[in-house]
C-alpha cells in the first residue's frame, strides 16, 4: 500500500515480488499513463454526446441550456482522444497504417474507422447543421478574423429560409439518432481492446466493454454538469436549476446502472474465483488499495450515489445553494472516480505477471512521454480547446437563435 503512494509521488526503482516473466520486468508497465487517459477522454466524448442527445432525440427540453455546451465538449475531447495513443506508439509516423492496411481481426485497427466515422460523419456534421443558422447570422454581423472564421464554417451555404432550416433540423436529428449507437460503438470498442485480451484475467471479460460504456456515460454527464457550473461561475451567471436538477437525475440513474454492472462484474469474479483470482486479491488488498477502494469505489461511486440519491428524495427541502454545491461535488468526485477506474483497469492489469506468480510496482516519472507532466498537459488540452470553442460559438456577445444556448449566457 505504501509503495503505491510513494510510487505515485516520487520515482522509485521498479520492484518485483514473486516471479514475473523476464520480458515483463524490462519496460514496465508497457501501457502507462497515456493509455489511462485514452479511454478516459474517449469515454468523456461518448458520455457528453449521450447527454446532448437527451435533448435532441429524447426531447428532454429542460436540458436545452446545456445542449450546445455538451456537443462542443464532445468535440473538444474527441479532437484530443487519439493523441495519447499516438504519442504512446513506438513509431507514431506509421500511425496511418492503422487505416491504410488495417488488420480487421484487431480491435485496435477498428479505432481509426470508428473515430473517423464519429468525428466526421456524426459530430462535425451534426454541429454544422446545428450551428449553420447562427454561423450565417454571425458572419453577417462580425468582421475581422472572427468573421472570417464564421464565414469559413458556413461552407458557403447561406440559405436560412424556412424549408432549409427545417431540413437542417431533420438531418441534425437523424445524425443524433445515428450518433447514439456510434457513441456506444466508439467507447464499447475501447472497452473491447481490453476485454478481448484473454491472456490477462484482469481485462479479459465480456463485461468490460459494457462497464466502459456505462462509466463513459456517467463521466460524460458529470463533465457536462462540471463544465456548465464552471462556465456559469466564470460568467457570473445563475445556473438554470431545473436543468441542473434534471442533469443530476440522469447522472444518478446512469451511476446506479454503472455501479450495479460493476458490482455484478466483481461478484462474478469473486464467485467464479478462476485461476487469476489469488493475484487479483493481492491487487485489491495491496497494489490498488487506494485507487480502487478509495478512489473508484468510495469517492467515485458510493459518495456521489449518496449525494445524488439523497437529493432525489429531498430535493425540495434542500436550498438551491447547497444543492448546487452537492451537484458540483458529485460531478467532480465522479470525474476523479472514473479516472481512477481507468487507472485501475489499465495499470492494474499490468501490475501482475501473466505467470500469475508475481506482482510489480509502478514507477511513474514526472517528465518524459509517460510522465505526470505529459499526462496533465493532455488532460488540460481538451479544456483549452473547449474554452476556445466557447469563446467562438457560445459567446454572450452574439445573437443566437439555435436551441441550447446556456440561459446563463443569456442572463
Amino acid at each position: 500500500m505504501t509503495t503505491e503512494v510513494t510510487n505515485i509521488v516520487v520515482e522509485v526503482m521498479p520492484h518485483f515480488e514473486g516471479y514475473v516473466y523476464p520480458n515483463e520486468s524490462g519496460q514496465h508497465p508497457l501501457w502507462s499513463v497515456l493509455i489511462v487517459l485514452y479511454p478516459y477522454i474517449t469515454g468523456l466524448v461518448a458520455g457528453a454526446f449521450i447527454m446532448a442527445s437527451l435533448v435532441r432525440v429524447f426531447k428532454v427540453r429542460a436540458l436545452e441550456p446545456v445542449y450546445r455546451l455538451s456537443m462542443l465538449t464532445a468535440l473538444a475531447f474527441l479532437l484530443c482522444a487519439p493523441l495519447p495513443l499516438l504519442f504512446h506508439l513506438g513509431h507514431p509516423e506509421r500511425c496511418y497504417e492503422v487505416m491504410m492496411t488495417p488488420h480487421l481481426t484487431s480491435p485496435m485497427a477498428i479505432f481509426g474507422f470508428v473515430y473517423a466515422w464519429y468525428l466526421m460523419a456524426v459530430l462535425l456534421l451534426e454541429l454544422w447543421f446545428d450551428f449553420r443558422r447562427d454561423l450565417v447570422a454571425w458572419s453577417n454581423v462580425t468582421s475581422g478574423f472572427r468573421g472570417i472564421i464564421y464565414r469559413l464554417f458556413t461552407l458557403g451555404v447561406t440559405d436560412v429560409s424556412g424549408p432549409a432550416l427545417r431540413l437542417d433540423d431533420k438531418i441534425g436529428r437523424t445524425l443524433s439518432i445515428v450518433g447514439i449507437p456510434s457513441a456506444f460503438l466508439l467507447h464499447g470498442y475501447v472497452g473491447f481492446i481490453f476485454g478481448s485480451i484473454k491472456a490477462n484475467p484482469w481485462w479479459g471479460s465480456p463485461l468490460v466493454p459494457i462497464i466502459f460504456i456505462l462509466s463513459a456515460v456517467v463521466s460524460g454527464i458529470a463533465l457536462c454538469v462540471f463544465n456548465y457550473m464552471v462556465l456559469s461561475w466564470v460568467r457570473r451567471r445563475n445556473t438554470d436549476m431545473p436543468c441542473l436538477d434534471i442533469m443530476a437525475r440522469f447522472l444518478f440513474y446512469a451511476l446506479v446502472v454503472d455501479a450495479a454492472v460493476e458490482g455484478l462484474d466483481w461478484i462474478h469474479r469473486i464467485y467464479a474465483a478462476e485461476e487469476g483470482f489469488q493475484i487479483m486479491k493481492v491487487m485489491i488488498r495491496e497494489k490498488l488499495f487506494y485507487t480502487l477502494n478509495l478512489g473508484q469505489a468510495t469517492m467515485g461511486t458510493l459518495l456521489p450515489l449518496l449525494l445524488l440519491g439523497s437529493l432525489q428524495l429531498l430535493r425540495k427541502r434542500v436550498p438551491e445553494l447547497i444543492r448546487r454545491r452537492m451537484y458540483f461535488a458529485s460531478s467532480a468526485l465522479i470525474l476523479v472516480g472514473v479516472l481512477a477506474m481507468r487507472w485501475n483497469v489499465v495499470i492494474g492489469g499490468q501490475l501482475f505477471s501473466k505467470s500469475l506468480r508475481g506482482v510489480m510496482a509502478y514507477k511513474m516519472e514526472f517528465s518524459g512521454m509517460e510522465g505526470w507532466f505529459m499526462g496533465a498537459v493532455l488532460l488540460a488540452l481538451p479544456f483549452t480547446i473547449l474554452t476556445v470553442f466557447i469563446k467562438l460559438f457560445l459567446s454572450e456577445k452574439l445573437p443566437s437563435a439555435g436551441h441550447g444556448e446556456p440561459t446563463a449566457a443569456r442572463g
Binding site: 520480458n23 515483463e24 519496460q27 481492446i193
Partner: protein, 270 residues
C-alpha cells in the same frame, strides 16, 4: 431550392470522398497480404515457405538449466542486453516437500529465472533436502495455431508465415504493444533499439538456410528438439520425440493451440 440542392451535392461529394477513402485501405491490405505470402523475411532466394512446417519441442527432463540457449539467442539475434529482454529464457521450478502433518501433497512452489537463466542458476533458495522436485523449463514463442498476437496486431505487422513461424515485419510494426499484451506467455517485448515488437523467429535467417536455431545448436543435452514436420523422416529427432513422449502445451485452456509442446511438464508450469 437551389441552395438546398447545393447542400445535397455537397453531401454527395463528401460521401464519394469517404467511399474512396474506404476503398484505399482495402486495396492496400490486399497488396500487403500478397507481399507477405511471397516475401519472407531474411529467407534466401528459392526458399519456399509453403514446403516447410517448422516446429520446436522441449523435453523438460533433459534440461540442465545451463542457460547456453538463452545466451546464444541473445548473441545470434542481437537481443538488447539491457533491460532484461529475451526471445528465449529458462525458468527454474523448485517444489518443496510439504510440512509434515500439513496434509498437503507438495510444499511451496518457487520459480526464478535470473538473467533469463543466461548465466546458469545460483544455489536453490531452500536447503536441498527440503526439495521435492526441481526442474528447468526453457521458454520461447509457443508458435500458436491461433496466435492471439497475430489476431491483435492492428496493422498486420505480425503474421503467421506458411512455414509455421510467427514473424514480425519491423518496417511495418507501429510499436503499439497490443501483441505484447495479447501474448499469454510473455514471449514478446518492445525493443528499445527499434521501438518495434520483437520475439523468437526460430532464427529464421538460419532455418531457411538449412541450419538449426542457435538455441538448438548449443543445447548440450538435446532438450530442445527442432524439426520440419512437412519433411520429417521416421528417425528424425522431432518424430522420435512425439513417438516417445506424452506431451502438453502451456496454458491449453486459452485455446491458442501452441505448437511448441513439452514433455515432462508439471502442473505448476505456466
Amino acid at each position: 431550392m437551389k441552395e438546398a440542392l447545393s447542400r445535397r451535392n455537397l453531401l454527395g461529394r463528401l460521401g464519394a470522398a469517404a467511399a474512396g477513402l474506404m476503398a484505399l485501405p482495402a486495396a492496400r491490405t490486399a497488396k500487403a497480404a500478397v507481399q507477405k505470402l511471397f516475401v519472407s523475411a531474411n529467407a534466401p532466394n528459392g526458399y519456399d515457405p509453403t514446403k516447410h512446417k517448422w516446429v520446436m519441442a522441449i523435453d523438460i527432463n533433459r534440461c540442465i538449466g545451463c542457460g547456453l540457449c538463452a545466451e546464444a539467442c541473445k548473441k545470434e539475434n542481437h537481443v538488447p542486453d539491457e533491460p532484461n529482454y529475451f526471445r528465449t529464457w529458462v525458468e527454474r521450478y523448485v517444489i518443496t516437500k510439504p510440512k509434515p502433518g500439513s496434509g498437503e501433497a507438495r510444499g511451496e512452489v518457487l520459480v526464478d529465472s535470473p538473467d533469463g537463466g543466461m548465466h546458469g542458476f545460483p544455489e536453490p533458495p531452500v536447503p536441498t533436502d527440503s526439495i521435492l522436485h526441481s526442474f528447468f523449463v526453457p521458454k520461447l514463442c509457443n508458435l500458436c495455431e491461433h496466435s492471439p498476437c497475430v489476431q491483435a496486431c492492428p496493422v498486420g505487422a505480425t503474421f503467421d508465415a506458411p512455414d509455421g513461424t510467427v514473424l514480425i515485419d519491423p518496417k511495418y510494426c507501429i510499436g503499439c504493444g497490443f501483441c505484447i499484451q495479447a501474448c499469454p506467455y510473455g514471449c514478446r517485448f518492445l525493443s528499445p533499439v527499434t521501438h518495434t515488437a520483437e520475439k523468437c523467429t526460430l532464427c529464421y535467417h538460419r532455418i531457411t538456410h538449412g541450419l538449426n536455431p542457435a538455441c538448438v545448436e548449443v543445447c548440450p543435452t538435446q532438450a530442445r528438439i527442432f524439426g520440419d514436420l512437412k519433411n520429417a523422416k521416421p528417425d528424425d529427432p522431432i518424430t522420435q520425440f512425439y513417438q516417445n513422449n506424452r506431451v502438453e502445451a502451456l496454458k491449453p485452456y486459452l485455446g491458442t493451440e501452441p505448437r511448441v509442446l513439452y514433455a515432462g511438464m508439471d502442473k505448476e508450469v505456466r
